[in-house]
Each structure stands twice: as C-alpha cells, then as structure tokens.
Symmetry: C2
Subunit: 457 residues, 2 copies
Amino acid sequence: MSERLVVIGADAAGMSAASQARRLKGPDELEIVAFERGHFTSFSACGIPYWVGGDVAERDELIARTPEEHRERDIDLRMQTEVVRIDVAEQRVRAKDLASGEEYWTSYDKLVIATGARPVRPQLPGIDAPGVHGVQTLDDGQALLDTLQRTEGRKAVVVGAGYIGVEMAEALMNRGYEVTVVNRGSQPMATLDPDMGRLVGEAMAGMGIEMVNDAEVTKILTGDDGRVRAVATEDAEYPADVVILGIGVRPETELAREAGLPLGTHGGLLTDRAMRVRGHENVFSGGDCVEVHDLVSGSERHIALGTHANKHGQVIGSNAGGGYATFPGVVGTAVSKVCDLEIARTGLREKDARAAGLQYVKVAIESTNRAGYYPGAALMTVKMLAERRSGRLLGVQIVGREGAAKRVDIAAVALTAGMTVDQMVSLDLGYAPPFSPVWDPILVAARKAVTAVRKAG
Amino acid sequence: MSERLVVIGADAAGMSAASQARRLKGPDELEIVAFERGHFTSFSACGIPYWVGGDVAERDELIARTPEEHRERDIDLRMQTEVVRIDVAEQRVRAKDLASGEEYWTSYDKLVIATGARPVRPQLPGIDAPGVHGVQTLDDGQALLDTLQRTEGRKAVVVGAGYIGVEMAEALMNRGYEVTVVNRGSQPMATLDPDMGRLVGEAMAGMGIEMVNDAEVTKILTGDDGRVRAVATEDAEYPADVVILGIGVRPETELAREAGLPLGTHGGLLTDRAMRVRGHENVFSGGDCVEVHDLVSGSERHIALGTHANKHGQVIGSNAGGGYATFPGVVGTAVSKVCDLEIARTGLREKDARAAGLQYVKVAIESTNRAGYYPGAALMTVKMLAERRSGRLLGVQIVGREGAAKRVDIAAVALTAGMTVDQMVSLDLGYAPPFSPVWDPILVAARKAVTAVRKAG
C-alpha cells in the first residue's frame, strides 16, 4: 500500500527531503506531494548578492532544480499553492491555489514542514515605498535589479550590517553605487565579538563604504514621486536612491504555531535528531524554520543557512524514505566576504560563552595565509576562546584576506570533536610555503591559548 | 647550579628547541651550546624551489633567524662546527671546527640531536658533474642559481616526481626552461595513489612539462667541457643543460647509530612522545632525523617536513626547559602545487591501508571550490578511504585548482579525532558561494563513502 509524503515549501530543505525520499522509494511505494507558494524551487538565496552585484549573470544560474526537473522525478509539485492550515490530528493540510483561490484538503502519512524564514521588516514610515528592497527571494532580487536599472542616482543605503548587509554593500559597490551601511550595533557583524567586528568595519570604511554604527533607523523618507529619497535615523538623514533591508530573518512558523507544534525561544520548530518535530513521529521539519542544537553550548539556536537546510533535507528524506540518518547539531560556522576581506566564525562568541555559564580565556594573533616570504602573503587576525581549566576549544573568529575564511573549518571540526587547544597544537595541518606559514595561523592561536589557559589557572 | 643543553644541528628542530628552552630558563640556569656544520641557521628548505623559480627574490628571506639573532638570545652557537661523535655514557659530544680542524669534547646534561636528513644521491656515472644539483640547503640553492645564470641552454631534467621534483619542475618552467621529469614510478607523486597521481601527471603534461614515467636513470652524460649534457635511462637520452635531483631524503643518523641509539626501519631515531630518544632520558631528537608515529596506521614513518620539525623543537625545548609538552604523532598531511594545480593528501593510501591490515572502501568525487555559479569555480577531485564496517576515515587525497589543497585540513582533523565518514557528513563547515558549494567537496565525498561502507557490509 502506497504512503503519501506531503512537503510544505519547495526550497532547499523541502526538496532535498523529497528527492532523497524518492531515491529510497519509488512512486509505487511513496507518493510525494509538494506545495510551494512562490514561483521558484530549490534556489540559492545566498547567491542573490552575487547576482545583484553582477558576478552571476543570470537568475537561472541560482536555481539548482526547476519545477519541471522535480516533476520528472515523480514529485507532484504544486506551485503557487499555499498551505494555509496543518491539521495534525487528522493528518491533513489545507492548500490554497493562489491563482484560482480554490482551497482543498490533502491527507498525509508523513509531513515535512519546510516553510523557511521571513525577513524582519520593521514597521517604519515609508518602509513600503518603491526603492526599498529585501533580498530574500529571487523575485526580491529581480525587483531590486529592476530598480537599479531604472535608478539614475548613485547612492545606496544598506540597513543592517550582518551577512546580508555586508554582502549587499559589496554588490552595490560593484554596481558603482556610493554605499552607506546603517547599523544598530556598535560594530558591523554582530555574529562576531565587537573587537573582531571593528576590524571588519575599518576594512569596509577603507574600501570607501560609509559605516554608520549605533544608529537606529526611524523612517524612510520619500520624494514627490513617492519613491525613497533618504533613510532617517534619530541624528541624521542619509540620501538614498535605493535602500536594502538586511536586518535578519525569523523562522516562518505561523502555520506550525497554529497547529500546536512545539516552538523554541527563537520561534523555530523544535525537532529531535532525526529531524522529527518533537512529540510528532510522522511530522518532520528542517531548514530555516527550525531551531538547531548547538553542540558547543548545548542550547538551541536559529541559523538560516543553505548548507544546514540541505543537510536537514537529506536527513528527513532518508528517514521518511525508510532509511536512517540524523543531524546531530551545529557548531555555528559561518563565512562571508566583503570585496577581498574574508570573515569567518565558529563556536561561541564571548557573550555566548558567558550566557552558557562557561568561563573562558581569549587570545588573538596576527599571522599570514602563506609563508611570509611567499608572494601574496596576506595578514589575518585569529581570535580563539578556550574554556578555563579544561582548555576545551570554544570558538574561533577570523578576519583577513585571501585564505582566511575557510581556515575556520579546522576549528569547526575540532569543536565537533571536543578537542582542547592543547590537542590542537599538534594537529597535522597541510604545510607548504604557498599555502601556510610553517605554523598555520590556527596553530599559532592554539599555542597562545594553551599558555593563556595555564596562566588563568 | 647551571645545566648545559647541547644541540646538534641549528635548523628548524634544533633551534626551535634551543629557543623554547631559553624562553623557559635564563642563561643563569641553563647554558645552551649549539653546533652547526653548515653556514646557515633556521632556514626554510621548503622555500628553495620558490627562490630558484623567482617568486622569492633573496636568499635571506628564507632565513627565519640568523646566527647573530640566536646569539642575542644567549645561545652559544658554533657555526661550521661538526659533531663527529656522541658519547652517551660520558654525556659528551666531540666537535670539530671545520675551519681549523681542531677537535674537542663538550659535556652535556641534556642533548638534542637534530641532524636532519640528507638527499638520496644514487651512485651513477656522472652524478657529480657540474650542472647536477640537489636542492637541500641554501648553498645548494645558490649553486643551482649560479648554474642557471651561467647556462646558455634551456633544457632541464628533474629526476624524481615527488614534492621536490614537481615543485622544481614549476620553478624551472618559471625560469623559462623546457622541463622533463624522469620518474621511476608509473605516475608522479608516489605519496598519492596511482589514480590520483595520474591526474597530476596529466595536468603537468598539459602545462608543457615532459613526463617520463617508469624510467630508471642509468647515468648522467657529460660533454667535452665535463658539464652535464643529458640524462640517460635504459631506453632513451634526455638532453639537459641542468639536472635536479629530487629523489627524496634519508634520516641523517650515522652519528646516532654509532652512538648505539635506537633506529627504526626507515633509519630514523625512535623517540617517545616527549621526543626523548627511547631509553635515554636526557637525549632528545626531532625533525628530519626521527621517525614519527602514524596515528592512523599505528606504525612509524619517516616524514621530512618543516612543520613537524618546528613542532618537535617546541616540544623538546619545553621538556628540556623544565616544562611539559608532547608530540602525539602525525596523520600524514602534505600539500603542494605545480603552477595552479594543487595537490594534497592525509592519512593512508590504499597500499598503506593494506599494509596495516585494514580493509577499506574507496570513493572519488568531483566537485568545485566555490558554488558552481560563482566566478572562478574550479574543479577538484577528492578521493576518500574509509575502514570497512566501522566507517572510520582512513585517508583523503585531493587534486584540483585553487582552494583544493588546504581543504585536506578538514580530513586531517577528522582523522586525528578518529571520526567516521558518517560523522563527517554532518560537519558544520563554512558555506558561502565564494568559498564552497552548499555541500563542501569533503562532505560530498563523505556522503558517498557512507553509502560505500554500507554496501560493503
């Protein structure tokens, strides 16, 4: 007898789950129905800044798999169809065809909630004016590109200085705009400690980006044509032909909340390691709408990131297709860049460690990506936190040039393995002059951390 | 009462040891005497190919610390002084001033043997002809550069296709030479499995390097002027204005052998984890003259690599200076490049696994360094071995372009931690389109390895 798997949301997590389940079970054993309210499937939201900036020529390059390609794999994909209710007791969802307005129930044996996240959009005067753009979906990206092509002015204001904010600052620089970044925090990149965020801010200022910190946007000012003309804070006005909102995202879990499913303190769905919604054996969830377990602090976090969504989908699809897989959690790795500045972090920041009740030592070192004498040797700063007494690695942040960001992977694996900084000092990392100094920067930081742990007692 | 630490060999291991011991104990507590038979201290032998190739302009850039700098740290450094005998029973060494010929005994409380390695130099007819060069020391490098400046021809033959061989092939290409690499093995880079070595060979041929495999050099042919004119194998002759020997190195342990110290099957000194020569509490050894413990196979290996030598020196200096540190072993990580081709390996090759009695599965995948749609996305091949049944990672080899080599560090840490490929699939590695596809190539390989382990049963 055939089972039915229903998927809500046809992006990374949802369609990875559907594809993996299909690999394990053919259409005779498993019917798969997927609902998507938007126009696109399986696209790379992380790629939008590079499309806007001109590094990626065509929107379609960001689409990993089209609706047609999913359908060829025997997935009954219903586009522009929004799920408006989940009925857990009756094992069914109510879908609405957005074109016709028609609504109908579809029953499920297993359900995947992959509703993603929605951008934070503060209720400010003028926020809906033409020329104010989010960059969450491909439609958002296209609308922004249309504005950029139409705009005669050359001033852009980016609100927010997290990953999306700094990546969009680069994209608009590449488009020839004068860019101002308005940021609520004291430094850009609140995902770093302020001392490391300051390095990012200084480098961005050095690239000609106007950095405005400690500034709360109070309203968006519009001109006679109704289009945006400036962004206002309490203290100043910043002229803008275009405004990008990069303030962050929240889990899209209204449906789940209405269905009585368990949400965490960040508003994301709570799952077990098999990515089943807690307390619900036949309901799975993954991607930007769930909270993930932080292996370092032991608490739950919300991290909207394509790589997690893909892994979640893979795990869900394996389990829903009769296989077995788990997602143990994250250590909080993230990498980004602004022009040639590379930014990376993994594990806990100082405030995360304090919040988790962990006492720590911190060290920071400067080193190079290559042997100092090798052409193109470029500086990076590595900050490392280690637990007091135990010496267990707690976190690493890196700001530098070429070769800086992906070095964080070394720390990510060490965190996953629960290594101490003492153990890290003898890690056998790749050494050759074009690739590393004889002591890799991560090892230099670990050596200094070992001393700091010993001194702290 | 002051102790005396005697160091034999003033390069990476020896002088790291001396410097670290000096950091822990001042000259009132610890006298440090270091003997060096050559002209230089603490230089980067790994940098010589880049100096010869012109990437590094000056010899002195390769010198991390000069004799004068060491002496400023209260180290009694005796240059061009060779230790000709170690008398373990009497705790003394016999030194010979190479200028005056004078010999004398110096007693020690603690001894560091850091005599390094010597290049393999087969006893072939013509091997000592002008124009035939090794590239082990700075003097070697200078002699080669002198030859290159004097040579009117433009043909170079490199004998050997390991790290030194392929790096010297690049260096001579950069100098405008037509390069032939004559290699005993069936593929270059015998530190890789043949299937991965073949990728290197094909790429080098594509760069215009003539690759001659399965060829044993029988003699070096000289011209009327006595200088090299060709390299002969059983089958052919390869015209050469200059010949580079890159056949490998052997531990320089003749002194140690004569002193009755324990050597392993590769001819290197055997040490404990504190880098003390086995059975000798007050004799330490490190760098290219020791064998290292392979954490994956459990056996001893000889690996001549500056990064290990520096770590050994650090450990020896800590212990000799009254502190405590250990060197647990290696996993066999190495990275290299030929022009824009990057080469990396860690852990066991297939034949290493077989020799260790380990049954394994192997997979190979192709992926990119960046998101496929991001400019400059370049291919790499990742091969992964995992133990049958347990799924424990055994080794990784990577051949590709930019961003390929240092990805091996992820596997190096995972090997050190004893991770299974299943655990690796959920590693939280840095993802953003300029740095990685949504599934990092290492994760793609791990996923495929998980399936292979399951199928192998």
